[in-house]
Symmetry: C2
């Protein structure tokens, strides 16, 4: 008998019929297994609640926002439990607070601190399917909290860790993790397995299938995560610890990210403390900067460039006009027409020359590289956004990630 | 500094604009007072949730139904707290479980067992307006429960008792308790005060302004309840302990109830145990019987009549066909075209002849009385339903309850 945690997102439970479908999908997995099912709010329910709040206040209190938003998942769990009863199965729903999901007090983006899973365990022992509201918890001071974007994935992975589940299945509208976005690369291939670190990099670099936070958690507690389709009963992608044979593949996937913008500060005096001043000013606005590049100094001056989420762009430019003047920079220029393309693979650790292969592939297509950053298992380039699809296809070919390769290996 | 508990029903918080209005109404009462505000779900929100549930299951699990329905009030409290913040006031919302409303485990109709009001008290001490989700609580086994019909009134009264509030204000779409339904009796008069027992009888006998359960609770703990209008800033009706001068008025109000039906079992053998058998069978179907009349025995046989909620009528007739045969009755006849009219007043205790005055008034109008029942402070008659308005007006006149009387006394 296995213990399986399943998670179904908002689009999988968007209406009553879909909730009934999920119930059928759940009971198909039931045969002799213990099941925990984590669900999100129904489809656009959360948007509807946010809309109510913004009609009342421009800056709703985060505590009250959590109080409001937590109702979304609570509705889904009750309905799913009823649907499971309708199929003749014992089931019991639990809110985040009820399932012992304890968090810190950072409302709207709380972090899980511990899980008291006794009630869930008791229900499982009693032969019940445990239905859990994702995305929510209870703070140390007994306030309802929410976990922020992708919170339901995190709930599922954290519960799987606490319950020592055999696997955490994330059901979604795609059927797994691909070597690249199939909308851009027609012969993109579904990966049967991917290492936590690769998944982490891919999530951070633009792949939307799993939130980076959940993958971090899964890695930390060694929870195998199976990303699969709500609608197609086929195996998806298993996110798991690194295995020896994974290193034989140098590049596992290609990602792209259109959500960034680039800002450059021109002719900054090149002396100690300037970077700290500039990025200190940005940090104060709570904007998270991604890539940073500083060119070599000429005549005691240098140029600094960085990328950031496009949505934070306006605020960042405002903050930088001030700091630019203070540090005596010549000016601030910005560019929204950028994209980031990246290659990811744990095999890079033991292979050299991967980055130069990437640069050569882009050069062959006449694509100019504006910024470069590297990690142990990924290389990213910022390029002009109109070349993004071309770049992804070129890299996918260069590293032989397509279906043909699968057939010939 | 007074401590005031206010309760606003679903129609008062039906949309965002109305919630903002309630917020303004609340802060008008704030001047130096401590405030607890109990709210219901927004307008038709509860109906919407019930509809979702019935689309999933014909007989949804009561525990899951409570899980579902409790979200309705939780949405309102978050929005109202945000609206109060918008007006510059400190406010904090609490679900039923958070405000320490403990109940038994009778899902969908739980009874309050105790209240741990520490969190509410702490928030009041901190100068916050306490916003509470009505209708809901937490059972002894930490499950979310709901209190059934009129539950938000009960939440307000119970919190007022626990916090020893100076008054519990019930805001509603009528501006108080009237001597009769003003839609039927144009010169019906708003009562400035009414005794708990009178209010109890009137609620049980058809007046819809307050649920009998809340009045019972208020009486038990001596909570003064002020029934008043959400929309008009005028004093309403104070429901309070009986005072000496109340006895000078013999009849305080006239009520009517169109929601009942009458069933008669004909020619039942008149021997001990038969009534127990008949009403035992009815009780097993969970139907609450109201008035019961048994005629005197003729030839060892008797007729039994009783009234019950019209909605339970079909089920009751079914149950009675069986038991009628078993006890050897001649047959079961039923009548939905009945109404109950009642007069209520604590003054009846010390005045005689009130019932005969009532019967005479009905006789003058040519209205036949089908059943009679009396309590210490009320007399009720079941009549043909088409005479109900006429009967109410006649009784209102007979006992001089109209505005003219107010002017001449």
């Amino acid at each position: 008998m296995a213990l399986i945690v399943q998670k179904y997102g908002g689009s999988s439970v968007a209406d009553v019929e879909k909730i009934k479908n999920v119930a059928r999908r759940v009971v198909e997995s039931a045969g002799g297994n213990q099941l925990v099912v984590v669900v999100s709010a129904m489809g656009k329910a959360t948007d509807g609640l946010v809309n109510l709040a913004t009609r009342i206040s421009n800056s709703p209190d985060p505590r009250e926002m959590d109080m409001l938003l937590a109702t979304g998942e609570q509705i889904t769990i009750a309905l799913l439990a009823m649907a499971l009863h309708g199929l003749g199965f014992k089931a019991r729903s639990f809110t985040g607070p009820q399932v012992g999901m304890r968090t810190d007090t950072a409302h709207t983006k709380a972090r899980i601190t511990r899980i008291n899973a006794e009630r869930a365990r008791a229900a499982l022992e009693a032969g019940e399917i445990v239905v859990v509201a994702g995305f929510q918890g209870l703070s140390e001071v007994d306030e309802i909290t929410t976990l922020g974007r992708g919170g339901s994935d995190l709930t599922a992975v954290a519960l799987a860790a606490a319950l020592k589940a055999d696997v955490c299945e994330i059901y979604t509208d795609v059927d797994g993790v691909y070597t690249a976005d199939p909308n851009i690369v027609p012969d993109a291939r579904k990966l049967p397995r991917i290492a936590y670190d690769e998944m982490l990099e891919m999530a951070s670099l633009g792949a939307k299938v799993l939130q980076a936070r959940s993958v971090e958690f899964a890695k930390k507690y060694g929870v195998p995560v199976h990303v699969r389709s709500t609608f197609k009963p086929v195996p998806g992608t298993l996110v798991t610890r690194e295995e020896r044979d994974m290193e034989e593949v140098v590049v596992t996937g290609v990602t792209h990210d259109w959500s960034q913008a680039k800002i450059s500060i021109l002719r900054v005096p090149d002396r100690p403390g300037i970077a700290a001043q500039v990025f200190g000013a940005i940090a104060e606005t709570n904007i998270v900067v991604d890539m940073i590049v500083q060119n070599i100094s000429r005549d005691g001056y240098t140029d600094m460039s960085f990328t950031l989420p496009r949505s934070d762009y306006g605020r960042a430019v405002g903050a930088l006009q001030d700091i630019g003047r203070k540090v005596g920079a010549q000016g601030v220029v910005h560019d929204e027409r950028v994209a980031k393309v990246s290659i990811v693979g744990v095999g890079m650790r033991s292979h050299s020359g991967v980055a130069s292969q990437m640069f050569a592939a882009l050069a062959r297509e006449g694509i100019n590289i504006q910024m470069i950053s590297t990690s142990e298992i990924a290389v990213s380039c910022v390029i002009e956004d109109k070349y993004a699809e071309l770049a992804v296809r070129a890299l996918h070919d260069t590293f032989a990630l397509g279906r043909e390769r699968e057939a010939t290996v």
